[in-house]
C-alpha cells in the first residue's frame, strides 16, 4: 500500500496546526456547506479551508465588500500537487529560458529585477470559482465565490524577458512551469502554455509584487505569470521554467485538463457526451452584490442601497444594472474608480423604497465594453468551469 505521509504528533503538530475554530457556511445546494475558517494558515489569515494539503483556501465573501483590492493575506490559494515550495531564496532563484530561443539561459531573479517594471490591476479567478453552485452538482474543489481576488501586480513584461533570449522563427507556443512538483512518480507536472502572440502581448507580466509587497509564498512567490483577463490556471506560480515550443503544447494540463465546451458560455446539457471542447481561456464578465448580504432583513420604507464589485473579464466593464424585483425592472448602477480594464470595479445604486414587505430577490448584471452581458441562466459543464451568470441575493423587507 502507498505509504501514508507521516502523521506528526506532539508539540510539532500543535505548533503547525492551523487555528480552526469558526465555521463558514458556503450555502451550496444540497451541501456539504460548512468549512473550517482558519484564523491563521501559514502567511494567510481568516481563510476558508477547503483542503489543507495541497492547500485550497477560499476568500470569505465579506472580504469583497471592503474595497477593490483583495489583501494579500486574504487572497485565495490553489495548488494542484502537494509538493509546493515553502521556502524560497531569491538570491539564488532563476528562470530557465529554453527551447526555440537564440540564447538559452538561466535568468536570475536579480537580473529580472533590473528590467523595466510595470504594474497592472487584474482579477485572478480560478476556472472553477463558484463550482459548488453548479446544479446538478459536479465533483471538484467545491468553491463558493471566493476563488477570486483582485490585486495590483508589479513585475516585468514577459516580452521583455523573451527579447533578452531572442525568440526564433517558427515559435508557436510558450510553456511555463513552476517549482511545484508531482508527489507521485510519473504524475503529470503542472505546465501551462500561451500562444506566442499572447506571450508577446504587452499585458502579460512576470510579477514579483502583489499590492506593493512581495508575492505571498502561497500565491506563487517569488515570480508568477500574470495573464490579465484569463483564468488563473495560466497564472503559473513559483515560475522557474519558460520553454518556447515550435508546435502546440500537448501536455496533459493543456490537452486534457481545463477544457470547456466550445461555446461562449461553456455550457452543455447535463449528461451530454462527445461535444467539442477547447482549453479554457478568457474570462467573461461577472458581478457580485456585496451589500446587502444574502438573507439580510431590511427595514421597510427605507431606500434600498445596493453595493457590489464587478469586472469585465477580458476587457473593461461598460455598465452594471441592478434589480430589486427579480429582474422585472433594472436600474443603472454608478461605477466606482476605474483601475483599468482587468480590475474589479465597485458599483452602487440607491433604489426607491420597496412598496411591499416580504422576500425580495436582488440582482446585478454586468456588461463589458465588448457588449457581453452576464446571462440570467447558469451555465453547466461537468468540470464546473466558467460560471458567470447573474447571482441572486435574497433578502427580506
Amino acid at each position: 500500500m502507498f505509504p501514508r505521509r507521516t502523521i506528526l504528533t506532539g508539540a510539532a503538530a500543535v505548533a503547525a496546526a492551523p487555528t480552526f475554530g469558526q465555521t463558514a457556511n458556503l450555502r451550496l445546494p444540497g451541501g456539504p456547506s460548512l468549512r473550517p475558517l482558519a484564523a491563521r494558515f501559514a502567511d494567510k489569515r481568516g481563510m476558508i479551508v477547503q483542503r489543507v494539503r495541497p492547500p485550497l483556501l477560499e476568500t470569505p465573501f465579506e472580504v469583497f465588500a471592503d474595497g477593490v483590492f483583495t489583501p494579500n493575506d486574504r487572497f485565495f490559494v490553489r495548488w494542484h500537487w502537494a509538493d509546493i515550495p515553502t521556502s524560497i531564496d531569491t538570491r539564488s532563484w532563476s528562470v530557465k529560458l529554453r527551447g526555440a530561443v537564440e540564447r538559452p539561459q538561466a535568468l536570475s531573479y536579480a537580473a529580472l529585477l533590473r528590467l523595466p517594471r510595470t504594474e497592472i490591476a487584474a482579477v485572478n479567478q480560478c476556472s472553477g470559482n463558484s463550482r459548488g453552485l453548479f446544479q446538478p452538482r459536479v465533483a471538484g474543489g467545491e468553491w463558493a465565490h471566493g476563488a477570486m481576488g483582485n490585486a495590483r501586480w508589479t513585475g516585468v513584461r514577459l516580452r521583455d524577458v523573451l527579447a533578452l533570449v531572442g525568440v526564433r522563427a517558427g515559435a508557436v507556443t510558450v510553456r511555463f512551469g513552476g517549482a511545484d512538483q508531482p508527489i507521485v512518480p510519473d504524475g503529470p507536472k503542472f505546465l501551462k502554455s500561451l500562444s506566442i502572440d499572447h506571450a508577446l502581448s504587452e499585458d502579460v507580466l512576470i510579477a514579483f509584487g502583489m499590492n506593493g509587497a512581495p508575492l505571498p509564498i502561497l500565491n506563487g512567490a517569488p515570480l508568477r505569470l500574470i495573464v490579465p483577463g484569463w483564468f488563473s490556471t495560466y497564472w503559473v506560480k513559483a515560475l522557474n521554467d519558460i520553454e518556447v515550443l515550435t508546435g502546440p503544447d500537448d501536455n496533459f494540463w493543456m490537452a486534457k485538463a481545463y477544457k470547456i465546451p466550445a461555446n461562449p458560455l461553456a455550457d452543455v446539457a447535463p449528461g451530454m457526451k462527445d461535444y467539442p471542447t477547447v482549453p479554457i481561456g478568457r474570462m467573461p464578465p461577472r458581478s457580485f452584490i456585496t451589500a446587502p448580504r444574502y438573507g439580510a432583513k431590511l427595514a421597510a420604507g427605507a431606500p434600498l442601497s445596493i453595493e457590489g464589485v464587478a469586472f469585465g473579464g477580458d476587457c473593461g466593464l461598460r455598465s452594471v444594472e441592478v434589480s430589486a424585483d427579480g429582474g422585472a425592472s433594472w436600474a443603472p448602477a454608478t461605477l466606482g474608480q476605474d483601475y483599468g480594464p482587468y480590475s474589479f470595479r465597485r458599483f452602487s445604486a440607491a433604489l426607491a423604497a420597496p412598496a411591499a414587505r416580504g422576500a425580495r430577490t436582488l440582482l446585478a448584471r454586468a456588461t463589458n465594453v465588448q457588449g457581453v452581458a452576464q446571462p440570467m441562466k447558469p451555465n453547466w459543464n461537468p468540470s464546473g468551469y466558467q460560471r458567470s451568470c447573474v447571482e441572486p441575493v435574497r433578502v427580506e423587507i
Binding site: M1, F2, P3, R4, R5, I7, L8, T9, A17, G30, G31, P32, L34, R35, F41, A42, Q50, R51, V52, R53, P54, W81, A82, T86, S87, I88, D89, T90, R91, W93, Y109, A110, L113, R117, T118, E119, I120, R137, A139, G141, E142, T154, I183, V184, P185, G187, P188, G209, P214, I217, L218, A221, F252, A257, Q337, Y339, G340, P341, Y342, S343
Partner: protein, 119 residues
C-alpha cells in the same frame, strides 16, 4: 512625521490619484530600498492529521487517498453516484498515477458510494 514616512505618504497619495491600469512603478533609488530585493523567506504549512471517518474500506481511503490530499477533498464533495465516484477514482489512477492496486478499488468505491455528505 519622519521624512521617510512623509515620502511614503506622498508616494501613496500620488499612486492613488493615478487611475491608469499601467502606471510606471516608482523609480528605484537604491536596490537596498527595493521591497522586492533578493532575500530568503519561508512559511510553515499546517500538517493535516485528519483521517477518514470509520466505515468499510476506510483503511484503503487512509492508505491511498490521504497520501496525496487531505480527506477534506473527498468529504466536501456533494452526494455522487457510484459511477461518478468510479470516474474520479479512474482519473486519480490513470491521470494522476495514484498507485492503487486493482484489488483495492472496490473497497474504495464502497466507501465513497456510502458517504453521506453532512451539512
Amino acid at each position: 512625521m519622519t521624512r521617510v514616512a512623509l515620502l511614503l505618504a506622498a508616494a501613496v497619495l500620488t499612486a492613488a490619484a493615478l487611475p491608469s491600469a499601467r502606471r510606471p512603478a516608482p523609480a528605484r533609488t537604491a536596490l537596498a530600498a527595493d521591497p522586492f530585493a533578493p532575500r530568503a523567506r519561508a512559511i510553515t504549512l499546517p500538517d493535516d492529521t485528519t483521517l477518514y471517518p470509520d466505515g468499510p474500506g476506510v483503511d484503503a481511503m487512509n492508505g491511498y487517498c490521504a497520501a496525496c490530499h487531505s480527506p477534506a477533498m473527498v468529504l466536501t464533495q456533494p452526494k455522487l453516484t457510484r459511477d461518478e465516484w468510479a470516474a474520479e477514482v479512474a482519473k486519480m489512477r490513470s491521470v494522476y498515477k495514484a498507485p492503487i492496486a486493482d484489488e483495492d478499488v472496490p473497497a474504495i468505491l464502497d466507501y465513497l458510494a456510502a458517504l453521506k455528505p453532512g451539512a
